[in-house]
Amino acid sequence: MGVQVVGRAFARALRQEYAASQAAAQARGRSGQESAAASSITGISLQEAQQILNISKLSPEEIQKNYEHLFKVNDKSVGGSFYLQSKVVRAKERLDEELSIQKKEEKQQSQQNTET
């Protein structure tokens, strides 16, 4: 009788674990798709955007600081290259897009957690 109870509880736990991992994989897959879509739409990949702005992790403050410095430094009025300035702008746009995708994914995850 006890064995049955334990067995049943174990099976239930297994099933829950499986469902959670599936949901996580789905969520990751969704955000990966969105990120790839953003890369193809903007024409610049996340990795390249990070390299251009010299960003290791996606923190808004670091992104803004590096962006402002690089934008100022490459301004045409001080003899900079407009092409480089454009790339800096596009890199920042791509990183902003990535941040909003992450935020959306986090909100979805927290909704899923409250549901289960």
């Binding site: 610049i44 390249e48 955007a49 251009i52 690089l70 800096v88």
Partner: protein, 143 residues
């Protein structure tokens, strides 16, 4: 004589009846011509007023453009760097014409590099691209 008079009257009448359709046709053409001429007259008036009004309109337009967020009207180059750097991209990176001399390439490279130096907070990736641009243009320019 009366006959002759009558006949001439008739003849005149006949002539009039003959002419009347022609005059109506002519009046149509007249109307068309008049219409066209009035159209042109108003067009001309419009153009004259447009010249007077255009300058303030243009000012209003440029002011609204400036007030709008610049990102919507930005003419920044799109996308990231090309997979394999071309001579055109190299010249754009250094801000020079593709047909520049070696001296100009060297001067532009130095200027852009000083601005984007990694030791002064520049990005190493951009510095690498600038160097790559200079190397490509050095290879391609003959003078």
């Amino acid at each position: 004589m009366a006959n002759a008079g009558g006949m001439t009257v008739d003849g005149d009448l006949m002539r009039y009846t003959e002419y009347s359709p022609k005059t109506s046709v002519r009046s149509d053409a007249e109307i068309d011509r008049q219409l066209v001429s009035t159209c042109f007259k108003y067009l001309g008036l419009l153009c004259r007023y447009a010249f007077h009004l255009w300058k303030p309109l243009g000012q209003v337009f440029s002011e609204t453009v400036k007030k709008m967020p610049s990102s919507t009207f930005s003419s920044y180059y799109k996308g990231g760097f090309e997979q394999k750097m071309s001579k055109r991209e190299a010249s754009l990176i250094l801000g020079i014409s593709p047909a520049s001399t070696k001296a100009k390439v060297r001067e532009a490279h130095r200027r852009i590099m000083v601005l984007n130096h990694p030791d002064k907070g520049g990005s190493p990736y951009l510095a690498a691209k600038i160097n790559e641009a200079k190397d490509l243009l050095d290879k391609e320019t003959r003078r």
